[in-house]
């Protein structure tokens, strides 16, 4: 496909104004079909943000552990709308299709079973109490150890972009707190909850 550069030049006496447009090639990259549950998930999720040549040209020797780390990164850092379990199931498929794993490996079989029992992840409807308990937040954030939820909220309350800043602090694990495996929606849901709690 040759490029298409449309220049609609509108000349005035002093300034040359122009609208410059490009057309980008259609993304027709496709994932390798495999009879693993992660294949369908990967098909529906990866293309949301990028073509799958991102996947195809990775080093061929990466194993399940390495692909799982990469999928956690997609979920938690880049905000892919998948649960931690879905990340593992996609990693199982990718590590077989493009990495060093075999479909018959025990861990891959176990992840296929997990896929059959998993809950559907809904990134728009998060349960803050489960996020707090799943990530063991309240183990430390109670009166005696780290700051309590109320204290943290009071620190940020009324400041500019409080949800963004507190959300980023939670997500990055500020002040020595371990960085939790959560994405932006989740960290900001927790931030909103904390800010609401502090004014109660």
């Amino acid at each position: 496909m040759r490029f298409l550069l449309i220049i609609l030049a509108l000349f005035s006496l002093t300034v040359k104004a122009e609208i410059v447009s490009i057309s980008l090639p259609i993304d027709n990259t496709k994932l390798k079909p495999l009879a693993l549950p992660g294949y369908g998930l990967a098909q529906s999720k990866c293309h949301l943000c990028h073509s799958v040549d991102y996947v195809m040209y990775q080093p061929p020797e990466m194993d399940l552990k390495e692909w799982t780390g990469e999928m956690y990164k997609m979920r938690n850092e880049y905000g892919a709308p998948i649960s931690m379990d879905e990340a593992k199931v996609i990693a199982a498929y990718l590590s077989v299709a493009y990495g060093s794993e075999k479909e018959t490996n025990e861990e891959i079989i176990a992840l296929t079973k997990l896929a059959n029992t998993k809950k559907i992840y809904n990134p728009e409807n998060l349960d803050v109490q489960s996020l707090l308990s799943d990530n063991n937040c309240l183990t430390c954030h109670k009166d005696a150890n780290a700051s309590s939820i109320k204290d943290i909220g009071a620190k940020y309350e009324g400041t500019d972009n409080a949800v963004d800043r507190l959300g980023a602090a939670i997500k990055h694990g500020a002040l020595g707190m371990p960085k939790p495996p959560i994405n932006r929606h989740e960290s900001e849901a927790i931030a909103k909850y904390i800010l609401e709690e502090s004014v109660k």
Binding site: V15, E18, H50, D53, Q58
Partner: protein, 418 residues
Amino acid sequence: MMKMNKLRREIIKAGGYVALAAAPLTAFSKEFMKDGKMYSDGEGVSYAAGPKPVLSTFPQKDNLVIVHTRPPHLETPFNVFNEGLITPNNRFFVRYHLADVPVTIDTDKYTIAISGSVDKEITLSLAELKSIEGQQEIVAVQQCTGNSRGYSSPRVFGAQLSNGAMGNAKFKGVPLKNVLAKAGISSTATSVIIDGLDKPVRDTTPDFQKSLPIDHVMTGEPMLVWEMNGEPLPFLNGFPVKLIVPGWYATYWVKHVSHIKVIEGKFDNFDAFFMTTGYRLPDNDTKSELPNKRAKTTLPVNRFPIRSFVTSLENGDEVNVSTSIEIKGIAFDSGSGIKKVEISVDGGKEWMQAALGEDLGRFSFRGWKLSHNFSEKGRTLVMVRATGKSGETQPVNASWNHGGYNRNAIERTSIKVV
């Protein structure tokens, strides 16, 4: 004290580890034809889905290696660097991070906003930008932080680049500090955040924004540019205005610049991801770490280390014995300028000094050449090592970091004398 000793041990281990790892002898991508289509592969570098296609499917771009289709990521085939010191616009590499790429720009309505810790917030049109005093032209190397990532050993995730995520071009623009002077920077400002029109597809993905320390802006080196090799910037290289930071990795060279914010505190919000999490290197002398023992403290990448390449020979090439051949190539550093380039044709035992070519400026590729007569038949390694005016030179072995960044080991080309 204990901490320092531990760090030192880690560095020593890292050095030892790398020396033991099988370093690929080759560092050149090769183009080849198969079933009427062109592909690129590097010997010693394999990809899960095989060689990558070389295509002309992107606007204003011809015969580039397709690293990723969406968002666009295109690499320059290495043989382009043997054709001249300036990389042509249609062969210059392209790298986006986020897929909401601008595809239509009205240059009459295009503006750059300057906000934050300034005397007065302003919005500049293109015409206003181009009327700011201090315009200049500069030839500078633009190089991806992950250039050559495909040669990391052990391999790492990320775009599996060969050595073509770099280019050398003549840019025309104005120092960023002159632009900021129009708004008046607060005396307590610490950093400048630069944002462009490219955006993430989802709101859970961080935007691509970069920050520069105000001290570096004040050197006058970072510039807003609108011309590349005498033409408007190619669309995919940041049309109509991009930031260049000569000597610093291309991650800072923000495309389609739309907003510059001067700040006094830390840049640590969600959209600071590409400063606070991505594009960082271990905070130690060799900027290295071990695969199973990641560095605990890291710093944002900034200037790139000195590098040099043979461009006239490719791995596997055959040359005739007892015949004078000209070996040529390029060298560059982050702005001290190239002092000397040395060549070894016996695997690093003896080094010969090459003749340096035309000086296009301290941030540019510097060409070099050497005539040599191979006296013995058989396989040999041609190695090239550059030294900058700063005294900086290249290490024998590549150090390792999990991002696959910052490679500058002495490159080796395996040839056969026949």
